[in-house]
């Protein structure tokens, strides 16, 4: 088990190096001279050349890459062309809201996925209609779900707020930057509750698609487990069908659903970027959306790195969780 964890963590380092290599190559491809960008559009050629030398952009390619990676490790993500702030500062400001949305979206996706999987594995009247409903959720682009959600739940029925992460202009800032938690920390329960209220619709929209995929995999492996010998044995012992499903089949099926969850996180991150733009959610998705029209590559690269690192870490955790739930995984 420990060997498995160590191996998994080592492979994570290699993957992260690959990620930085890709982003580094893209930066070279984007024809943006970071020195020129750093000094501004009116800088003289001499000043640009001097800055290029100071920043190390006249060194050999490989040396530049190492310089880049060591910069990243020290938190240097270069300077945004749009906001003129270091990208790392911008990201630190925008990240908490994204973490809030992504974590609650992921949590919702897992819960809904389990529910969808268990329901659709059962045979009942209207099961076909239920599957069709799930298929529709999975086929709807996140922006359609968001638009309809805002239009109906917030515009017409006024049940849920349609924009932002809070309706307070003087909401407490810090220590985490996540409104719900900060509200609780400062003892302002109304603010925290309002934050939860703002979170429901965007988190639900982000979660629906991945939840259906997770539910599908769970159903498939549940059905396979229910046909297996151990399920037959459990039934032959006279156990109730409920017990067979929940105690015997489920544990053997969770592993596949978990690895699907890991894979879905990538799609979910792309969804988070879109949803943040629609809901004016103050996260890095909104930040990257504002950077795209300005061709602000350092900002886009920074967000890509942060989301990529998040994805890789989540997948490493998922793999380790899988080994905990199903020790056979660690044997490979």
């Amino acid at each position: 088990m420990i060997k498995f964890v160590v191996k998994r963590l080592l492979s994570m380092v290699v993957i992260l190096l690959m990620l930085t290599a890709i982003v580094f190559l893209l930066q070279k491809l984007s024809h943006i001279n970071p020195a020129h960008a750093y000094l501004g559009a009116n800088a003289s050629q001499a000043a640009v050349n001097r800055e290029t030398h100071i920043l190390g952009y006249d060194r050999p390619f490989i040396a530049q890459y190492f310089h880049y990676v060591s910069g990243l490790l020290r938190g240097n993500l270069e300077v945004s062309l749009r906001t003129r702030h270091p990208v790392s500062t911008d990201i630190v400001a925008f990240l908490p809201a994204t973490v809030e949305l992504a974590v609650s979206g992921l949590f919702l996706a897992m819960v809904l996925g389990a529910v969808f999987g268990l329901i659709s594995a059962a045979r009942f009247r209207g099961a076909g209609a239920f599957r069709m409903l799930l298929m529709s959720f999975a086929s709807a682009p996140v922006f359609l779900l968001s638009l309809l959600g805002i239009l109906v739940l917030s515009g017409n029925l006024h049940w849920l707020p349609g924009t932002g992460d809070t309706s307070y202009t003087n909401a407490p800032t810090g220590p985490t930057g996540i409104i719900v938690i900060d509200g609780l920390v400062h003892g302002q329960f109304a603010v925290a509750w309002d934050g939860v209220w703002h979170l429901i619709l965007p988190a639900l929209v982000v979660a629906l698609g991945p939840a259906v995929s997770i539910g599908r995999v769970l159903r498939g492996s549940l059905e396979a487990s229910m046909l297996s010998d151990f399920a037959r044995t459990a039934r032959a012992k006279g156990l109730k069908e409920r017990t067979v499903v929940l105690h015997h089949a489920l544990r053997n099926s969770v592993s596949a659903a978990l690895s699907m969850t890991g894979l879905q996180v990538g799609l979910m991150f792309a969804g988070v970027v879109v949803v943040e733009t629609i809901f004016a959610w103050p996260g890095i998705g909104l930040y990257v959306d504002q950077s795209i029209p300005q061709a602000d590559f350092p900002a886009i690269a920074g967000v890509t790195l942060v989301l990529g690192v998040g994805y890789v870490i989540i997948n490493a955790i998922v793999d380790i969780l899988q080994a905990v739930v199903d020790p056979r995984v660690a044997l490979v």
Binding site: S11, V14, I15, M18, L19, I22, V23, L26, Q27, L29, S30, G128, R131, M132, M135, S136, A138, S139, A140, P141, V142, F143, L144, L147, L148, I150, L151, G155, G209, V265, G266, L267, F269, A270, G271, V273, V274, T277, I278, V288, D289, S291, I292, P293, A295, F297, I300, A301, T304, L307, G308, Y311, V312, N315
Partner: protein, 292 residues
């Protein structure tokens, strides 16, 4: 040698024989899947004949801004400039469909070739190629695609290129898995003993057996691609305005949502219909080709 090989059955034609009979595929599909096939057929025809069906030019104003749907001869209304949304949506459908099919095809070709080479060659070639594939698989494709397009500069072609670059590893994995499974079968041993070289084994004895798995995967993947491409276009990473792209139309119409809902919602609904039709058809194809 040729005589000896004549007795060797080539790869089991799981599926390939059935691809021919479209009627059999539809016949075995569930009602929902049949609806999916029909919807997909309608959408594909609409995309092909868009210039004939579209009542107006998609990029010239054809009426007052914000005409509501079904008024003044505008089936889906007009947008903030006065463009006919129905006409734009038809052309957008074309872009979406062509884009998704192109990326799936490139994924199948690039990934399929890499998987085929890895599976046939085995040894260190297999290890190197698959490690590389796994590295790509371990990164979030859609997020990388955003950075790719941003680096290359937003355009319809760059978006397709970016998504194609991140989309192949999945197919490499599947192809390699199928090839390794087939390679262990007796017919391959027989082919090798009969003197078939690596090329003949790859293309005559292995590839045909792997096609059905790849076709099913690809057909289930079209819907994902429609969604991913629409998402990128929504973020402004597609063809520049006023090109009729579904995602971009929804994004630009976003500000009018609460008063003129049809401006952003109509294109979004078309993305939904196209994805739903692709997913249902993919399911239908999967169900009929995998049960035997």
């Amino acid at each position: 040698m040729a005589v000896a090989e004549a007795f060797i059955p080539s790869a089991p034609r799981r599926g390939t024989a059935r691809i021919g009979g479209a009627r059999r595929i539809v016949g075995r599909a569930s009602i929902a899947e049949r609806v999916g096939f029909a919807l997909l057929a309608v959408l594909v025809l609409a995309a092909i004949f868009a210039p004939l069906i579209a009542p107006y030019n998609p990029i010239t104003p054809s009426g007052l801004p914000f005409t509501s749907p079904l008024h003044g001869g505008h089936l889906m209304g007009t947008d903030e400039v006065g463009f006919d949304i129905f006409s734009r949506v038809l052309y957008g459908l074309r872009t979406s469909l062509v884009g998704a099919v192109l990326v799936v095809t490139s994924g199948v070709i690039i990934g399929g070739l890499i998987g085929l080479v890895a599976g046939v060659a085995g040894g260190w070639v297999d290890t190197v190629l698959m490690r590389f594939t796994d590295l790509f698989l371990a990164l979030p494709g859609p997020v990388l695609a955003i950075a790719f397009v941003a680096a290359l500069g937003p355009s319809g072609f760059h978006t397709l290129l970016a998504v194609a670059i991140v989309w192949w590893p999945f197919y490499a994995r599947i192809m390699r898995g199928e090839i390794r499974a087939l390679a262990a079968r007796p017919h391959l041993e027989a082919a090798t003993l009969a003197g078939a070289g690596p090329f003949r084994r790859a293309f005559r004895h292995l590839l045909p057996g792997a096609t059905s798995a790849i076709v099913v995967t690809a057909s289930l993947d079209v819907g994902n691609l429609v969604l991913t491409l629409a998402g990128l276009s929504f973020l402004g990473l597609g063809a520049p305005a006023p090109a009729p792209e579904l995602g971009a139309m929804a994004a630009r119409g976003l500000q009018y949502l609460l008063q003129e809902w049809w401006v952003p919602v109509m294109p979004a609904i078309v993305v939904f219909l196209l994805t739903l039709a692709s997913n249902l058809s993919g399911d239908g194809l999967n169900a009929t080709m995998s049960d035997s």
